[in-house]
Chain length 360, copies 2
């Protein structure tokens, strides 16, 4: 039954996906005498972790019970007291942990504390599945930069736009809705100034109930963005960040007054240093970024090997023409092509979404 | 139960797919007192049709039984006597037909004869499914040209080759095997001289047990093909046809002596008149063509709106570069894009196959 209850914990975790960053979304269930007593998932940042939610629900029934938790309980004081303390005080007698937390502040310490307190503690159940579930967080911890997801929309024949530049819409409403779901599950949505200008894009989440809004980031080397753009006008409502490398002080201040955060990074002509862009996000504890970049900026991320996951939407169109995707990211010969691992395919009515992880 | 038995008949039909042209592949089952008596499917050209196979198996048990047959029984003398005669003589009392045969030699005549003989006859069950099952045949009858399937293999980013020209292999063995299955189910596999030269392609079916070999057709305007090519060398083993527009008589005779059929069609420089190419195939009663054409020839078929179905294989590669698919087939703006109807998606390990019908 351990496997069954761990699956329940993982399902609980999903309830908090995209809603509790920078904490990882975790699920916990408490079971006693073969009966499910309580479930919990990580609450928004600063509030209870999954373990504490479940323990509070269980109350005295936790005495002598077993807890299943997808990620190792924390053992340090952050915004909340250590979960290990709560578990020990609750009288729980056995803890089954999915995976260890590689966060240097935990990293096996949580398990050690539980064992030291005489609790029967095991770990390593559904390891691979939970690692995939928490891929953003785990990558963030290990790479010192956010997990980067490249999203693009192509015609069947691999064009990102018709030759007159029109691209609205290559994909169908089901695909576009799925993109909004993806936005709601990341911390940052990143776009380039050209795409934002062309589409007058907001980059916020629309049409999803109770969705958390991501931080909207535009890379705008010379602060060309217009104050009248939807992106700027919505800054009071949805968090907005612009990174640039050179701009007059007045423009910076003007945008700040409109509610936008500005960060200066190094750059070269119309390019920003992408490693620095990601480092700045990492420093802000933002652990996942969805790239909704035009072709040029996409190519730059590919050339720098800065993509952790691809989400390629194929719209039901044959377009022809010269606007082929990633032209300047030329692998030259077939043996140097980039493969994706763990390819997954999702049909969205008459569109297809392909997801996978570039194997660098 | 009618629906159940018609499904059985359709499954029987699949057994003859690609094995009985130019006859359509049909399935028939005979049922009596709720018991399945006999099944049959169309045999190779000149041999028994599905109905006759089933009747012979049933023998005297056919008396008073019901027959389910996916396509209207023929009522004319072809290579074999009319199936209607066999049905009437068998003593079958009821016939349920899937769809009418639009072949002008039948076209409702089969049903009329059965009714005239006092047999309780109905039609129109799983019409849409059977029309899809027999799409090659039905299109061939109505369009006066074969059904044309465009097959291509692209990287995720829509490139048909790396920039050095290498393209072996974009797709995985599972996809390539599927292509051989497709070859075995059509009458003709068509390629251009350039592709055949570059890949030294045979265009035959390999790795599929008991597969029927298609007619292999190369469009070769000036008969540039080399006698040493695998295509020519295998002509005695696998049927081969070349269409050209101008070539020295000696070359024509040389190839004929090597076992290749040659047909002259009109053309312009390095292009053949594709409508004439298809007409010649239609005249030969070949009702489906699989295009395994390079980019140039593919574009020509697209520009002439001569594609009935697409089969786009996406290999697990990001290639970049300039070799985008269908570049010169430029739809100019998104509103003029070609849509596919009835999009189907098949995952072939880490590859994806998308199939659909261009809506011209």
């Amino acid at each position: 039954m351990d496997r069954f209850y761990m699956k329940l914990a993982m399902r609980q975790a999903e309830k908090s996906r995209g809603k509790c960053s920078p904490n990882p979304f975790v699920g916990a269930v408490i079971v006693k005498n073969g009966k499910l007593i309580a479930e919990g998932s990580t609450q928004p940042y600063g509030q209870d972790h999954a373990e504490v939610v479940a323990i509070k629900k269980a109350g005295k029934q936790a005495q002598g019970a077993t807890m299943y938790v997808s990620l190792e309980p924390c053992c340090h004081y952050g915004k909340t007291p250590p979960c290990t303390d709560a578990i020990i005080q609750s009288g729980i007698k056995r803890v089954v942990v999915g995976i260890l937390d590689p966060n240097p502040l935990v990293s096996g310490g949580g398990i050690k504390e539980l064992i030291a307190a005489g609790i029967n503690t095991e770990y390593g159940l559904f390891e691979e599945d939970i690692k995939e579930q928490l891929e953003y967080y785990l990558s963030y911890i290990s790479k010192k930069r956010p997990f980067v997801i490249w999203k693009t929309a192509l015609s069947w024949d691999g064009k990102y736009a018709a030759s007159d530049g029109s691209s609205q819409w290559i994909t169908n409403p089901a695909s576009r809705r799925f993109v909004h779901k993806m936005r709601s599950e990341v911390e940052v949505v990143l776009s380039g100034i050209k795409s934002v200008e062309t589409d007058n894009a907001m980059l916020n989440v629309r049409g999803i109930r109770k969705a958390k809004q991501p931080l909207r980031l535009v890379l705008d080397p010379f602060l060309d963005i217009k104050a009248a753009s939807l992106f700027v006008k919505s800054a009071k409502q949805y968090p907005a960040l612009i990174m640039y490398h050179s701009a007059p002080k007045e423009k910076v201040e003007c945008l700040q007054n409109l509610g936008i955060e500005l960060i200066q990074v190094s750059g070269n002509n119309d390019k920003l240093n992408l490693n620095e862009v990601l480092l700045k996000l990492w420093e802000k504890k933002l652990y996942s970024v969805l790239l909704e970049t035009g072709n040029k900026l996409s190519e730059a991320f590919w050339k720098n090997c800065l993509i952790d996951k691809c989400a390629i939407f194929y719209g039901n169109r044959i377009l022809g023409g010269e606007n082929g995707c990633l032209k300047s990211y030329d692998r030259k010969c077939i043996d140097r092509a980039v493969h994706l691992s763990k390819v997954k395919v999702k049909k969205l009515q008459d569109n297809v979404l392909v997801m996978g992880y570039p194997m660098w």
